[in-house]
């Protein structure tokens, strides 16, 4: 187990370096300049621009910049400086991250609980009306783009019914976060439902289920213990990779509902070509994503004793 985790952590290193380097290259190799952006349309004097570029290390070759950035990040936990505000990126992250974490966690709970419940309901009745209805609804949910769904919910629940506020002012208030969380969770919810449904329907025909029923176990135990434990593995895999997707998907949702989280900050830094902020934020997202995947692999062994990590 310990050796397996160590090996997986080692395998993460090239992926981590590759991902950050790719982002770095995309941000700096493509046209545009954050320092010029500071001066707006007027443009600054060449000396001042050169001075600022030197101060932020932008006059060095890209690979040297990347090397310095990674060195500072790993040795000192220093993610650089946000050029527009002059604040350290870690400060900006500290403000934005808890907001997105709350939103993402709420969305995750919604997709986890509702998705698995709907999936089990459909899977146990595979081929019947309930099953087909649930499958059709999930197809529809997958087809509605996030921002369209956001607009629809806003018009119906905020403007027409006045049940929920249209924008989020206080991100610690669950009532205000509910609508954005539902919007963020919808597509994933549909995928979780479909995965659970397929898995349940497939395992329902397995021999061990027939044995369990033949032993005279109550249905609750057959479904809750025997069936669930074996059917949840693909679902857990999906949920693990989805944690990263939820954080990324927050770009649209946070914009729609005016939430000041990671997504909003990322969108701003892309438009302003704020390389350091962007690389810092995406790095964190990538770390979250990689760790979630590792966690999922370790969970396999808990769910399925046949899987052992030497």
């Amino acid at each position: 187990m310990g050796r397996y985790v160590a090996r997986r952590l080692l395998q993460m290193i090239p992926v981590f370096i590759g991902t950050t380097l790719l982002i770095f290259l995309m941000v700096y190799a493509l046209p545009g300049d954050p320092v010029r952006g500071l001066f707006g349309d007027k443009g600054g004097s060449p000396q001042v621009i050169a001075q600022l570029r030197h101060q932020y290390g932008l006059d060095q070759p890209i690979l040297v910049q990347y090397w310095h950035y990674m060195k500072n990040m790993i040795l000192h936990g220093d993610f650089g400086t946000q050029i527009a505000s002059g604040r350290p990126v870690t400060d900006v992250l500290g403000d934005a991250f808890p907001v997105t974490l709350r939103l993402g966690a709420l969305a995750f709970v919604i997709e986890f609980v509702l998705g698995i419940a709907l999936g089990i309901t459909a899977g146990l009745r595979a081929g019947r009306v309930t099953d087909n209805a649930i499958l059709l609804v999930t197809l529809l949910l997958i087809s509605v783009p996030v921002f369209v769904l956001g607009y629809i919910l806003k018009v119906v629940f905020a403007f027409n019914l006045n049940w929920l506020p249209p924008n989020v002012n206080d991100s610690t208030n669950i009532n205000e976060l509910l609508m954005p969380a539902i919007v963020l969770a919808t597509a994933s919810l549909a995928y979780v439902t479909r995965l659970t449904r397929t898995s349940i329907a497939e395992n329902l025909r397995a021999d061990y289920i027939r044995t369990a029923i033949a032993k005279g176990l109550p249905k609750r135990r057959v479904v809750g213990v025997h069936l669930m434990r074996n059917s949840l593995i693909p679902v857990i895999t999906y949920l693990g990779t989805d944690i990263g997707a939820l954080m990324g998907g927050a770009v649209v949702t946070e914009g729609l509902f005016n939430i000041q989280g990671v997504g909003g900050t990322i969108a701003q830094s892309i438009v302003r070509r704020e390389g350091t902020t962007l690389v810092g934020l995406v790095t964190i997202l990538v770390i979250v994503y990689l760790l979630a995947n590792l966690l999922v692999d370790l969970l396999y062994a808990v769910l399925d004793p046949r899987i052992r990590y030497a």
């Binding site: 590759g18 990263g244 892309i270 994503y289």
Partner: protein
């Protein structure tokens, strides 16, 4: 009952020799290929029929928008104020779905916006399938160090959130043509197909007929494309069809974020209409409905193909 049996026997006796001759007829059904079998399934699936009809209509709109409306989607007439409600009775006329802020016909814009979505969807899917398929094929077939390098490369691209990556790329282009958007979506989209392809190739290359081909001295490309490829296509086709819908949705999302195509597109119209959401919902409502129908059509098609190709689902 006895009567029925009697007549049956009579008929059988009467048509004796012919019946015997016709016996082998149903036989070929058993030896139908995976594709023939799948096609038989598809023809009987209502999901497939509905989605194909929708897609044919969408393709007609894409290639011949003039058949559906005679109005130019870019010509605005400010006298046609956007607060004038849609006339839902006038099916097909310019004021059917109302006018937008600049007095342009929403109906004409919905019709002409189809081309952008369909072009991006098909273009990206083709690019992604070719690139991802090649990477997956090479990684799966050669294994070893080649596989390790390509798989890590896939992980790197997969690790960057799809939408964020495309946003960063598109932000550096002022002139975002269809090709630029297709390029940006494909740059991050190929990983899924590569993974599916790699998995399928690894299972297929252990088959006896592949060993036989190798023993006969067939060249590597020939084994890859003549022997392995046909047997790995099924899962790739399923993933590609479903992702076609997802790419159309992604293009609209990028347009909503202000980083999509320049020109007439549903995403741009929905984004513009979002600002008028409290006074003139129709500006965003009708492009949204078209967008949802289009994405749904392709996802349903993928679903039907998956059901037909995957025997586990039966």
């Amino acid at each position: 009952m006895p009567d029925v049996t009697k007549t049956d026997i009579k008929n059988a006796v009467a048509s004796g020799p012919q019946a015997a001759l016709q016996l082998p007829e149903p036989k070929p059904e058993k030896s139908r290929s995976l594709w023939g079998d799948a096609w038989g399934d598809l023809r009987r699936s209502w999901i497939f029929i509905v989605s194909s009809v929708l897609i044919v209509i969408l393709l007609l709109i894409t290639f011949f928008p003039g058949w559906f409306t005679g109005v130019d989607p870019t010509s605005g007439d400010l006298a046609k104020h956007f607060l004038q409600k849609p006339r839902l009775g006038n099916i097909g006329s310019p004021d059917w779905l109302g006018y937008d802020q600049q007095g342009r016909s929403v109906f004409a814009r919905v019709i002409y916006g189809t081309r952008a979505s369909i072009a991006v969807g098909f273009g990206t899917t083709i690019a992604v399938t070719v690139v991802g398929g090649l990477v997956g094929m090479i990684a799966g077939y050669f294994g070893g160090i080649v596989d390790s390098v390509l798989s890590r490369l896939t992980d790197v691209f997969f690790g960057i959130p799809f939408l964020l990556g495309t946003m960063v790329v598109l932000n550096s282009f002022q002139d975002r043509t269809t090709w630029v958007v297709i390029g940006a979506l494909s740059f991050f989209g190929w990983t899924q197909i590569a993974r599916v392809m790699r998995g399928a190739v690894i299972t297929t290359k252990q088959a006896d007929y592949v060993h036989a081909a190798q023993a006969l001295g067939a060249s590597t490309p020939r084994i890859m494309f003549r022997h392995i490829l046909p047997n790995t296509l099924a899962p790739v086709i399923v993933v590609a069809t479903i992702s076609l819908g997802i790419y159309i949705s992604a293009e609209a999302t990028l347009s909503y974020l202000g980083l999509g195509l320049n020109g007439v597109s549903w995403g741009n119209d929905i984004s513009d209409g979002g600002n008028q959401i409290r006074v003139a919902q129709w500006i965003m409502l009708y492009p949204s409905i078209m967008l949802i129908i289009t994405v749904l059509a392709f996802i349903m098609l993928g679903e039907a193909v998956r059901n037909a190709l995957d025997p586990k689902m039966r």
